[in-house]
């Protein structure tokens, strides 16, 4: 059953802490969707999961799953399963007993539990490992058992806390694919916590970026990259190009000159952002002259730092396009108008949202 | 709440105890026996001998239950001083009635402690019918290590100091203190004695002290410092002279009688001694001492004393304890425990006051070959010194010999 999750106005301040960990947090997760909860370490992402799971209680706000509020319910009655970062398999139980744990707590007959457990073992590529002890498993197997133990309960909401962080890089891709496919197949509404934006982009339908105890932007990865809600969001996703200036009559006036703005942009001071990968180099109709400051090969891309009339600008281009560039050389730079994104925020001013 | 309860107990208890004690002191024996019926006596006594335990738990307990309907609960302790401390703690806690201890097997220093702290129930002994069998004229009965008994305890056994030797290795032992001192020097390493304040070792030192004084005559009565100084000097000279000839050249002494018994059992020393020679027989029967162990008393005098049973002031069941004391004093029980196979303890009653049959039975008692006859010891009897002498001698020994 696909159920949406609705968080509204959640507040939580840990005892003895001066600043709230959650400060009026709102978030909607669509039924059956996979949302990544992204943010720097220590922003309260795990706290939020514990709140939803019922292990913590908010000072204010509401958590609704479908048409019911979860707040009055103890964790075991929420139909929400939280899978912790450390897989937390019960060391005194076998793999099969771990997976069947939740069903056993419900008092289901042994043969029913065994049937479901076997199915889960197969589904998570754990066939034949049922009799093992948790300490005899590899990292990837451990994580899959933890996942199986959660999914066997067919929860309304699955909460995954950094499910890939304890895995070797090589295993992450496979695990990510497995989570994706299982989630699609089962249609369980899922919230995945991660601090890795690449992982969030690769895994999730949508990304909720959390900063300062709130969700600062919740959108698809494409939107978040191209049209960040704040400068902080832009910076978090690697947005390095920020030009301070003034919007006046549909045009942005800055140190490098006038740039076109989308129609309807109101006048006033602000910043213009532009993804480094949107910057194109070479001659062109709208090209401006810049000087190459630094040029670094990054594997799939080359990072070029440019001086454009005294303003620093970063471009990420295909290596073959940057092949002939030398430091100090002059090069044409084009800033496509469609990639320009205006924010009513000044980079020198203190950020609207504290990191 | 608890404080109120405690106050109530403190106020109520003495009054109640007083009336009971009055009945016990002034009532008839039949009244006491009637009151005692159905009760339990918690008798605390040294429990280190299976034979004595067996006699009390099997024989006495059965008779007490059958004849008087009283349950006897023998509680073995390692040392009677534990029981004295227990009663003392109860008194300090204000428990003047309903105490844990009904009867104690006691004598000497522990009796003195109980008298000094006013822990004994007193003045009742005349009520016991069998009291007439006790010769209270005998100072060795009327005084417990010089402390007047004053109706605070009832005699149970008399003992006299005896020496044991293995007749297989030493057929002709020295039989007087003078001979013994010569023998010690002639047989280096074959003699020792437990360091005072061990009860038995202290008694040995008193024998030397009396020997040095030339007899007990001048030592009886209250402590006399000048007399003590004179005799003590001679005593320490004697003991220092024999010291190099003792076991391990006198560099160390056994600290308990048990240790010395072990040295004797293993043949390391030629003698052990005991204030109760019946213990030699028990040790032979238990396989501890060699079978050819024989015992004797020093012909120039051997100390004797009496041990008693005592009812604490706060005993729960004084009437039942009195009935038990009376039973223990009866000719039948005095005879029973005198049997060598039972215990072999000498009677505390005057045999001449018993019936002709009992007298004949005592005369006909088989003698344990290892236990010197009470009659033989009685011929050399020395009265015990008063407690102040004991204390002074023990302190002197520690200062002069046991440094």
């Amino acid at each position: 059953m696909k159920v949406p999750l609705q968080l509204s106005g959640l507040r939580l301040t840990y005892p003895g802490s001066a600043t709230p960990t959650l400060d009026g947090l709102d978030l909607s997760v669509g039924a059956g969707s996979l949302t990544a909860l992204l943010g720097p370490s220590g922003t309260g992402k795990t706290t939020l999961l514990k709140l939803i799971a019922g292990l913590l209680h908010p000072d204010a706000g509401d958590i609704r799953l479908g048409d019911r509020s979860l707040l009055p319910l103890p964790p075991e009655r929420r139909k929400v399963v939280l899978v912790f970062q450390a897989a937390l398999l019960f060391p005194h139980l076998t793999v099969a007993q771990n997976i069947g744990f939740g069903l056993r707590m419900q008092g289901l007959p042994t043969d029913v539990i065994a049937r479901h457990t076997d199915a889960m073992l197969d589904r998570l590529h754990l066939t034949g490992l049922g009799a093992r002890r948790p300490d005899a498993l590899s990292g990837g197997q451990t994580q899959r058992v933890a996942l199986a133990r959660a999914l066997i309960l067919e929860p309304d909401l699955l909460l995954l806390d950094e499910p890939l962080s304890s895995l070797d890089p090589g295993l992450r891709e496979a695990m990510r694919a497995l989570i994706r496919s299982l989630q699609r197949e089962l249609g369980v509404t899922t919230l995945v916590v991660t601090h890795d934006q690449a992982e969030a982009v690769a895994l999730a339908d949508s990304i909720a970026l959390m900063q300062g105890g709130r969700i600062v932007q919740h959108a698809t990865p494409e939107v978040i990259f191209a049209r960040p809600a704040t400068l902080a969001v832009a910076r978090f996703f690697g947005g390095e190009n920020v030009l301070p200036g003034q919007a006046r009559g549909g045009v942005f006036e800055s140190a490098i000159g006038r740039l076109p703005l989308p129609a309807g942009t109101a006048d006033g001071p602000g910043s213009l952002t532009l993804r480094p990968e949107a910057v194109t180099l070479g001659p062109g109709a709208d090209a401006r002259a810049a000087r190459v400051m630094e040029c670094r090969f990054l594997g799939t891309q080359t990072r070029v730092e440019l001086d454009l009339g005294g303003t620093r600008l970063v471009a990420l281009v295909a290596p073959h396009l940057a092949g002939g560039l030398a430091v100090g050389q002059s090069v044409g730079v084009t800033l496509p108008p469609s990639a320009l994104w205006f924010l009513r925020e000044n980079p020198e001013a203190p950020p609207a949202v504290p990191e | 709440m608890l404080r109120i309860l405690a106050v109530v107990l403190l106020v109520a208890a003495p009054a109640e105890a007083q009336t009971t004690d009055d009945t016990l002191l002034s009532g008839t024996w039949d009244q006491i026996v009637a009151e005692a019926e159905g009760g339990t006596v918690n008798w605390f006594m040294w429990g280190g001998s299976d034979q004595i335990n067996r006699y009390v738990s099997d024989h006495v307990a059965k008779r007490l239950l059958a004849d008087y309907g009283i349950t006897l609960n023998r509680i073995g302790v390692a040392d009677a001083v534990e029981v004295v401390n227990m009663v003392l703690a109860e008194k300090e806690a204000g428990i003047d009635t309903g105490g844990a201890v009904d009867l104690i097997w006691i004598n000497g220093e522990n009796f003195r402690s109980m008298r000094q702290a006013d822990l004994a129930f007193c003045g009742y002994t005349g009520v016991l019918p069998n009291n007439v069998l006790v010769n209270w004229e005998n100072p060795a009965i009327a005084n417990d290590f010089g402390v007047p008994v004053d109706g605070c305890e009832v005699p149970w056994n008399t003992v006299q100091f005896g020496f044991a030797h293995d007749s297989a290795t030493l057929p002709e032992p020295p039989r007087s203190m003078a001979e013994l001192l010569v023998w010690i020097k002639a047989n280096p390493g074959r003699f020792t004695y437990p360091a005072p304040p061990d009860f038995t070792g202290s008694a040995f030192v008193r024998h030397v002290f009396i020997h040095a004084a030339g007899g007990p005559e001048n030592l009886l009565g209250p402590f006399d410092q000048s007399k003590y100084d004179e005799v003590a000097a001679k005593t320490w000279t004697i003991l220092n002279e024999i010291e190099p000839f003792l076991w391990r050249e006198g560099r160390t002494y056994p600290t308990t009688l048990v240790q010395m018994n072990e040295l004797f059992a293993n043949g390391e020393v030629a003698f052990t001694f005991n204030y109760d020679p019946s213990q030699f027989g028990l040790a032979v029967d238990a396989g501890i001492f060699p079978p050819d162990t024989r015992s004797f008393g020093l012909s120039d005098g051997t100390l004797g004393n009496t041990n008693y049973t005592l009812i604490p002031f706060n005993a729960t069941n004084k009437a039942a304890a009195m009935v038990l004391q009376n039973l223990l004093l009866s000719p039948e029980e005095q005879l029973e425990k005198a049997k060598p196979e039972v215990w072999g303890a000498a009677p505390a009653i005057d045999i001449l006051r018993t019936s002709a049959e009992v007298q004949a039975a005592f005369a006909a008692l088989p003698k344990h070959p290892s236990v010197v006859a009470a009659s033989e010891l009685a011929a050399f009897a020395l009265p015990e010194l008063q407690a102040d002498w004991l204390t002074a001698i023990e302190a002197g020994w520690r200062a002069e010999i046991g440094r």
Partner: protein, 267 residues
């Protein structure tokens, strides 16, 4: 692997260490006339055993009493130590080490000091001479051991396991039964055995609080040991030591079978 070998060796050494003194005691208990320099007793006798097992000696009744007191002390001490060890093991608070030292204090205090301190109080409360008074007194030296063991166990137990179980649908009681208790079971068992043995071996406290009326085996044993009766001491000592060893072996036997504790993850 290496740890297994070491612990097996340690257990063997412990067993030998415990059993060595029993050998002369066992011989003494059937010896009649075993005097220096004989290597073995000249005669064998079952007299000491027959006395020890007879109702007169009270040894058998005392064995039951000693076991009962030790078992009750162990259960209560472990039950009290559970929340205490949990709090001490989990929480990191300033002064925690001071609290740990205080917890340990009753175990290192001289028994005589504890006994004297308690006796007056217990007398006034009317608890002396009762089995429950003795149990209460035994709890004082017994409690620190399960508390310290469980403190160490809970320090290594990740409480997130309990949260995880709740999320998987376990009610609090189910969490306790199916997750927490199995995880700390080795500690509970060790703590319970230690508390049992502490009670089993109490002499002074039993004497002063029991007032002689609560006659546990150490009291009987001490009486014989101090009166030079090696045969009786041997027999009673065997009766005293063997059940304790058996009990310990029984409870610790399963230790090797239990899984290692989960490691704590700090989040």
């Amino acid at each position: 692997m290496k740890r297994d070998v070491l612990s097996a060796l340690a257990r063997l050494a412990l067993a030998l260490f415990l059993l060595m003194p029993l050998i002369p005691l066992a011989i003494w208990s059937v010896a009649h006339g075993w005097r220096f320099p004989a290597l073995l007793p000249s005669e064998l006798s079952l007299a000491a055993w027959s006395y020890a097992l007879s109702p007169v000696s009270g040894v058998v009744g005392s064995l039951g009493l000693t076991f009962f007191i030790a078992a009750v002390t162990s259960v209560i001490a472990t039950a009290l130590a559970y929340p205490a060890g949990r709090a001490l093991g989990r929480l990191r608070f300033p002064g925690r080490s001071v609290v740990l030292v205080l917890v340990l204090a009753p175990a290192v205090l001289p028994a005589i000091a504890v006994a004297l301190g308690l006796q007056g109080l217990f007398l006034r409360m009317g608890w002396t001479g009762t089995i429950w008074g003795v149990v209460l007194a035994h709890l004082i030296p017994a409690l620190p051991y399960p508390t310290l063991v469980l403190t160490a166990v809970f320090a290594r137990f990740d409480p997130h396991h309990e949260d995880q179980a709740r999320c998987l649908g376990a009610r609090p009681l189910q969490v306790l039964l199916h997750v927490t208790l199995p995880a700390v079971l080795p500690g509970l068992r060790t703590g319970a055995v230690l508390a049992f043995l502490i009670s089993w071996s109490q002499y002074l406290l039993t004497l002063s609080i029991g007032g002689g009326k609560v006659q546990t085996l150490p009291l009987l044993l001490f009486t014989f040991a101090t009166s030079g009766r090696n045969d009786l001491t041997g027999a009673v000592a065997m009766i005293y030591v063997l059940p304790a060893l058996a009990f310990m072996a029984l409870l610790l036997r399963q230790r090797s079978k239990t899984a290692p504790l989960p490691n704590r993850t700090d989040r």
